[in-house]
């Protein structure tokens, strides 16, 4: 097994990283996250499972608590003070998401449970309307199950075909093959902005340009991107963009779908119920305008407010500062882990977010995870909900350390020491 990880040399890093880490005080940031003060198995928590979910800063925890303590009421139908106030807070959160993604209008932001629900929503509304027998849906080999299965369900129902663009051994999308798979039958492209298992940052701008040449809309799964990168949906010109709040320091159970209003307007609703209607008779229902057409039932108001607080937190730190700091940390971690004998990195794309997927000799990742856990280091092991990707690499699982803005070089050292402990146990 090779120990030569393809590292990104310092001089070849993108030029937009000017003095990374400057103005970014990680110790101060860490104090914002109360869970990081807790001890796990008698040791200070080293949390490196951020691609699964991120920890929450105090401002997010407080925003949720404050809502339930002072503002709790149902929204969009109140004649009383609290309902009006809760509605204002909820809609303010929507505008925060709008500006976070640089969407043209707040009505293009639909609150959902998370990225998974957003993709299902698009598959079941836009997809069911526009994908027919013999048509094709194009995804990539590095997708999370949540960007595979909703399309499979659609294709099965419609008699359409799911096409998969291949990737290289380093975990990069083969753009030429991708372009060749685009054709007159392709009705939608769905692609991860950042791969959860590999860390690869996909060239979504070019992907969208290629697809748009054939007037094919593109859904970008941004679940792993928004914690690490600045996203501009108008700049990208993507048709749909989805993300989960809990991966970007917000609560679980809330996420957002961005969709171009022309597309969202043209498709039927996802679920029926309260809030999504304008008027109901037993003969006919008139649907509400965007975005409410897609928000049936009482939404996760506290979650939306918590997500708004998380976005403010990220904005205050500065997306570019975060990206710069994380890029430095990833380079440091990649170098530190690569020199361990028997290490093989899975996912060595030139453009990567702060994810290190690795194998260690023939030691099963599950055993690596258990031993690291005893050292207080939390990582994820397994197939990362990307079984086809694991099959692509001919492996069953990897160990994955994924970093966030509060992780430090000392924590990378703890990871390395933990991996050395694994080697000792299995020596």
């Amino acid at each position: 097994m090779t120990t030569a990880a393809k590292r990104l040399p310092r001089e070849s890093r993108p030029a937009d990283v000017r003095d990374p880490g400057a103005g970014f005080d990680v110790e101060k940031v860490r104090r914002d996250f109360p869970i990081l003060r807790h001890r796990v198995r008698g040791r200070t928590l080293v949390y490196l499972d951020n691609a699964a979910t991120s920890q929450k800063p105090q401002v997010v925890i407080d925003a949720i608590g404050r809502y339930y303590e002072r503002d709790n009421a149902n929204i969009h139908r109140g004649v009383h003070f609290l309902s009006e106030h809760a509605t204002e807070e909820y809609e303010a959160a929507r505008r925060k998401v709008q500006s976070f993604l640089n969407a043209a209008d707040a009505s293009e932001i639909v609150f959902v449970r998370g990225a998974t629900e957003a993709i299902n929503l698009v598959a079941q509304t836009y997809g069911r309307t526009n994908v027919h027998a013999g048509d094709e849906v194009l995804i990539t080999a590095m997708e999370h199950h949540s960007n595979i299965v909703p399309w499979q369900i659609l294709c099965e129902e419609k008699g359409a075909r799911l096409r998969v663009a291949p990737i290289s051994d380093s975990g990069e999308l083969l753009l030429e093959d991708f372009e060749n798979l685009l054709g007159p039958r392709t009705k939608i492209v769905a692609v991860a902005h950042v791969s959860n298992a590999l860390g690869t940052i996909n060239p979504v701008q070019r992907i969208i340009e290629m697809a748009h040449r054939g007037n094919i809309p593109v859904l970008v799964d941004g679940a792993q991107a928004v914690p690490h990168l600045k996203v501009d949906v108008q700049g990208l010109d993507c048709d749909f963009y989805v993300f989960s709040g809990h991966k970007v320091y917000g609560p679980t159970g809330i996420g957002a779908l961005y969709g171009k209003s022309t597309l969202l307007d043209a498709v039927p609703p996802y679920q029926g119920g309260g809030d999504m209607i304008s008027s109901v008779t037993f003969e006919k229902t008139i649907y509400n305008k965007l975005p409410y057409k897609f928000e049936a039932g009482t939404p996760h108001v506290a979650g939306a407010i918590g997500l708004g607080a998380a976005i403010e937190y990220v904005n205050d730190l500065g997306a570019d500062n975060i990206a710069g700091y994380e890029r430095e940390l990833l380079a440091f971690a990649t170098e530190a882990v690569s020199v361990i004998p028997g290490i093989r990195l899975i996912g060595t794309a030139k453009e990567k977010a702060a994810v290190l997927s690795f194998l260690l000799d023939s030691i099963h990742p599950h055993d690596i995870g258990t031993i690291l856990d005893q050292e207080g280091v939390a990582i994820r092991t397994g197939h990362h909900c990307a079984q086809p990707l694991m099959q692509r690499f001919g492996i069953a699982a990897t160990a994955r350390a994924s970093f966030a803005l509060y992780n430090t070089r000392e924590e990378v050292d703890a990871l390395v020491e933990g991996i050395q402990k694994v080697r000792e146990v299995f020596s």
């Binding site: 198995r41 008698g42 030691i363 099963h364 990742p365 599950h366 055993d367 258990t370 031993i371 005893q374 092991t381 397994g382 197939h383 079984q387 694991m390 069953a396 699982a397 146990v425 299995f426």
Partner: protein, 150 residues
């Protein structure tokens, strides 16, 4: 705090590196697969049943150290036993790894399988330790489908 050395005892590590009875069996008259979708561990257990007794047993597949060693040691432990005896051993083993078998209790019948007692301190690894046993259980009952730990 649970002790890693309790979990990864020498005999377990040794069996995980050099599993016994690790082969496909052409004379098998019962087989079953065990699959843990959580970590992708996957084993096939091959049985040659002579009436009620296990004349021969082998396994193949891939898994972590705990599941591989457990499968290996299981094949050694049940070879020559009757179905009833094997089921009883599984029951005792299951109690052991889920912490329902007191250390001062009767673990003698488990023999070297007692090395898996450390698993009880690591609840998420119980499925690893019992994967091959579940497959054995299915194979003895003549089931051909894949048994899943989920």
């Amino acid at each position: 705090m649970p002790d890693l050395r309790e979990l990864y005892q020498e005999v377990i590590l040794e069996h995980s590196k050099a599993p016994r009875n690790y082969c496909e069996m052409e004379t098998a008259n019962h087989t079953a697969e065990g699959y843990n979708p959580l970590c992708g561990d996957h084993f096939t257990v091959y049985l040659n049943l002579d009436g009620d007794s296990i004349r021969d047993i082998s396994f193949q597949g891939s898994g972590c150290a705990i599941s591989t060693a457990s499968a290996s040691m299981m094949t050694q432990s049940v070879k020559g036993k009757t179905r009833v005896e094997a089921e009883k051993l599984f029951d005792q083993f299951h109690k052991l790894v889920t912490g329902q078998s007191p250390a001062n209790g009767n673990r003698a019948e488990l023999g070297k399988l007692a090395a898996f007692s450390g698993v009880s301190e690591f609840p998420v690894r119980v499925k690893c330790a019992t994967l091959a046993w579940h497959a054995l259980h299915a194979a003895m009952r003549g089931k051909q489908e894949t048994v899943s730990t989920e």
